[in-house]
Symmetry: C2
Subunit: 344 residues, 2 copies
Amino acid sequence: MNFLKFILVLFVIYIDSISFAQEPQELKDKYVLVIHGGAGTISKSTLTPELEKEYKDALKEALKCGQNILDTGGLAITAVEAAVKYMEDSPLFNAGKGSVFNHEGYNEMDACIMNGKDLTCGAVAGVTNLKNPIEGARLVKDSSKYVFLYGDGAQEFCLSKGAAYADSSYFFTDFRWKQYQKALEKDTIILDHDTTSLNYNYKALEELEKFGTVGAVALDRYGNLAAATSTGGLTNKEFNRIGDSPIVGAGTYASNRSCAVSCTGKGEFFIRETVARDIAARMEFGNQDLTESGEKTMARLEKKGGSGGFISVDKRGNYIMMFNTKGMYRGVVTNDKKTSVKIY
Amino acid sequence: MNFLKFILVLFVIYIDSISFAQEPQELKDKYVLVIHGGAGTISKSTLTPELEKEYKDALKEALKCGQNILDTGGLAITAVEAAVKYMEDSPLFNAGKGSVFNHEGYNEMDACIMNGKDLTCGAVAGVTNLKNPIEGARLVKDSSKYVFLYGDGAQEFCLSKGAAYADSSYFFTDFRWKQYQKALEKDTIILDHDTTSLNYNYKALEELEKFGTVGAVALDRYGNLAAATSTGGLTNKEFNRIGDSPIVGAGTYASNRSCAVSCTGKGEFFIRETVARDIAARMEFGNQDLTESGEKTMARLEKKGGSGGFISVDKRGNYIMMFNTKGMYRGVVTNDKKTSVKIY
């Protein structure tokens, strides 16, 4: 019996060594981190030079957070979480602290994270008091038997696993409050005077709010891909609506077989077109390269009236940052240490 | 100005006639409807002959509901809703009326419907008092600007649009209550005596509950595809967990470009593997046929430890009913009027 056990143990060690050998063990040089801070009707005329600098600085800092991890041999999944967390902590982006006010004055935030290595993923939607929704998504992924949790239940689980709690007051920022007040004020003034401008401004406001999402995709030095997306949701979001950000295959997707994707845009269109999975599926099943996959997916989205953007990096380190809106807060850093951030 | 209007109207009529001409106008003969009532550890030993007959009769009736629509030139989307609705109204399946009791004694039901013609879709999750969650999903699809609504908000919206309300008592069925009681009773007895059997029975029960899902896919006589899925959720479901059923691309998907899919199984695996979209994407981007797509998707799912099944019909009327469990309640009817229902 002991001999049998010994043989079994040897066998297990052998099997283990095979699967171990399949892992890319040695650290390659190449790594890539791409981030976005939302797309929409962002133009030179809507941003002051000071605010533009603030955004760019924040994007650079977010890239640095993820780069530090990748550079020292950390995992893609850790890097995308760190980059998204930084943007969640900034009042500039519609995610985490910077989440826009909804009609009732609180936020329903969504987030999702996915590991391309094994397709494990975690998502939360409709959470109101998690300081970092992306941390919640990571906890669902790592510490639960579930993939997708909602609202109070999601929060209860995440807090029980050590997620940071934040009071509603934490999500109050002067910046967002003024923006909200201005929006209300504008509405009233325009409502009284000009319906044409009303429609125009309504649309602009709606777009700005809808596209408020942050995301990150990365290729680490082991060849692993990962993606993370987080959003503060819609202003005036009704009926506990869930958007594309927390949905695997819609706003977020990662697979080492193809690429990692994070989207921002009108969520409903991204769900119908399974945008994130489509970009990856075109590569995986149709042998299209990343640029072709991205362009064709964008063309379909646009044909249906969908607008927004996405970032993606593939297993070879190619990356794309595509959008059909006026602007998208975005940035990239690779192992050559060159950081590039853009808005328009 | 009036002349300009006249020209514009002519132009609109012209454009309309073009898109009209592109629609397959003439009624073809061919139509297909495939349904499932869940997969799991269903074996001859767990079903009495009487219960087996009840299940088969219910499947036949559900098929008839959808067939009547398809036969008379109705749309695939109408047929799948009708078939799923019938199964929701039956106490036999874990969806609608037959939903299993959860730990607190109420249900959180999920449903999704998708039209392959234009990729429009609607989904609800965590609803407790909609008589037919699939009707709710259809209303979200047709009457809201959203795709995916949760819980109270979803219910508020659906009821405001005329969805049928059902009191919690409606979902009380002797059948399910006894099953639930038996489960509790068994647990206690086994807990006191034998941990091996406990694990076994726990697993069997868990599987049966997890796989309780109903679904339908159809090809109509215009060449349109559609899919619908509805589930009564998990017993003891915690933390407002959302499964794969209401997620476009995971448990439900339809596109006229490829096929319509409805899944049943351990939801988390189906989300990670984007099962429904993958079956369709292999056809669409990889030129695989439906059987190959199904088999390869199933192989991947199985490799990760996922179990369950799916039904699918493609644009040519080919269909598959695949599962890696002991059984799956399933049935098919085509324009030759032959109905086939199977369990094991």
